[in-house]
């Protein structure tokens, strides 16, 4: 099957510091790819390069066999097909929730207002926010804002959805309400590339996991084998850093061999 997105050996540096040092990947229709890695490894930059928020220095990016990297004028047409949601929600604070949702479909895609509004209402109620349609963003909680941002991106009917650490700014109790929406989307067959630090979520939602380190994809695999038994030492260390607390408990329980279970 033809992949929706093809990234071929892209390089990107900021002020002479290499952030992406030759990244290649393909994403197929209906596939959910989760990208994880330590901060500064280039995973957010990778997403930003895919929809042209950053220009790449070398390599190329193809959306359904059409080259989209290095486009100048028509980038907005490409972005109509690629949705993106950020860590900081970025709802437009001067517009009500419904106007936030309608802006892209009615202005960029020139769809009819009535039709889109009906669809928007339907999607809002699916994420449990039907009563917030006329609210201003500042009256919403972080989790609610992020759900609105997801609906806003989905209303564009994107071929590919990019999620850049969408729960990183949320209070812990709000994380699941957002991630459940994403899992629903995945089950409906939405094609997604997701950068996240939520390992449980990654394991649940991913068809494929990419582990990035220092500007390259260091490991790639299915979620079961990657999370159970990563092949590279670096990925193992990275995953272990998330289990610090439980590792300590284990160590205490494991009193027969004191000191040996020390992390690092």
């Amino acid at each position: 099957m033809e992949p929706i997105l093809r990234v071929k050996d892209i390089h990107k540096s900021f002020d002479g510091t290499g952030v992406l040092k030759g990244v290649s990947l393909e994403i197929h229709e209906g596939e959910v790819v989760v990208i994880i890695g330590p901060s500064g490894c280039g995973k957010s930059t990778l997403l930003r390069c895919i929809n042209g928020l950053e220009r790449i220095d070398r390599g190329e990016i193809l959306l359904r066999d059409r080259r989209i990297s290095g486009l100048e004028k028509d980038m907005h047409l490409v972005r109509q097909k690629i949705g993106m949601v950020f860590q900081s929600y970025d709802l437009f604070p001067h517009m009500k929730v419904m106007d936030n949702l309608l802006l892209g479909p009615t202005k960029a895609l020139k769809r009819s207002r009535e039709e889109t509004e009906a669809e928007a209402m339907q999607m809002l109620s699916r994420v449990g926010l039907a009563d917030k349609a006329q609210a201003l963003p500042r009256t919403l909680s972080g989790g609610q804002k992020q759900r609105v941002a997801l609906v806003r991106a989905m209303l564009m009917h994107p071929e590919l959805l990019l999620l850049d650490e969408i729960t990183a700014a949320l209070d812990p109790e709000m994380v699941s309400e957002v991630l459940n929406v994403v899992i629903d989307l995945a089950e409906e067959g939405m094609t997604m590339a997701i950068v996240t630090h939520e390992m449980r979520f990654a394991e649940a939602v991913a068809d494929r996991v990419l582990f990035m380190e220092d500007g390259v994809i260091a490991e790639e695999g299915g979620p079961e084998e990657f999370f159970r038994e990563p092949r590279t030492e670096r990925a193992r260390q990275f995953l272990q850093s998330f289990t610090y607390a439980s590792a300590r408990k284990k160590e205490k329980a494991d009193s027969g061999n004191p000191g040996s279970g020390k992390i690092r």
Binding site: R79, G83, F86, D90, F92, M95, D99, G104
Partner: protein, 223 residues
């Protein structure tokens, strides 16, 4: 105070005020347009245009309007560029005001988070749509106090139109003054006239600012 004199010359002042207001307004409107264009050229780093805009702003902000007016009105005709007094007035005021308006717009735009621009781009909006629906409404809300301050500043600056032999407030007063006898009354009415002209502007500024602050965000207009 000779109230009879004041009463008999009030129509002179209303005529002068009308000239001041009309040309002040033309200048303000043109300044807003020019300022917005310059500001966008710089914000989006449009090649060549941004440098022209920058150079123009520096030039306009660092020279007095009076000198600009003399140059337009008395200097240019000598090299074959002849402009009417009214044209000089509007051009001069726009030249000065455009630079100040541009700076006001710029501080407004810079106060809008960069990620807002990206969020608009990610929705596939064109640059013009992004400016129109996402950036400008937010920038305007922040820029309003500075914009109003500029409007008041520009209307005050119209007092220099008298050197163009235009019968604005200042020139009306000056003519009456030199005709003798009633300096105090003439100047009293001049000051009062500017107060009457500018008080509504100042009031509008206060009200708008209060409304913006109350709403927490400027523009609640639906798309």
């Amino acid at each position: 105070m000779d109230w009879g004199f004041i009463g008999s010359h009030i129509t002179d002042y209303t005529a002068g005020a009308w000239v001041t207001l009309r040309f002040g307004l033309y200048g303000v409107i043109c300044s807003l347009v020019l300022g917005l264009l310059c500001c966008l050229a710089r914000y989006f780093r449009v090649p060549v245009l941004k440098s022209i805009a920058h150079g123009y702003i520096e030039l306009a902000r660092n020279t007095p309007l009076l000198v600009q007016l003399f140059f337009l009105y008395a200097g240019l005709p000598r090299v074959g560029i002849r402009l009417s007094a009214e044209a000089c007035a509007v051009i001069g005021l726009t030249f000065l005001g455009g630079a100040y308006m541009s700076e006001a717009f710029r501080s407004g735009l810079e106060s809008v988070d960069k990620s807002q621009r990206e969020a608009g781009e990610c929705l596939g909006l064109t640059r013009a749509q992004n400016i129109r629906y996402v950036l400008l409404p937010q920038a305007l809300a922040t820029a309003v106090p500075a914009l109003f301050a500029n409007v008041i500043f520009l209307i005050k600056e119209t007092s220099m139109f008298s050197v163009l032999a235009m019968m604005d407030l200042m020139n009306v007063a000056d003519t009456l003054r030199t005709s003798g006898g009633h300096t105090v009354e003439v100047l009293f009415m001049l000051a009062a006239a500017y107060l009457v002209l500018l008080l509504p502007v100042s009031l509008a500024a206060t009200l708008t600012e209060r409304r913006l602050r109350y709403a927490g965000f400027g523009n609640q207009r639906t798309v």
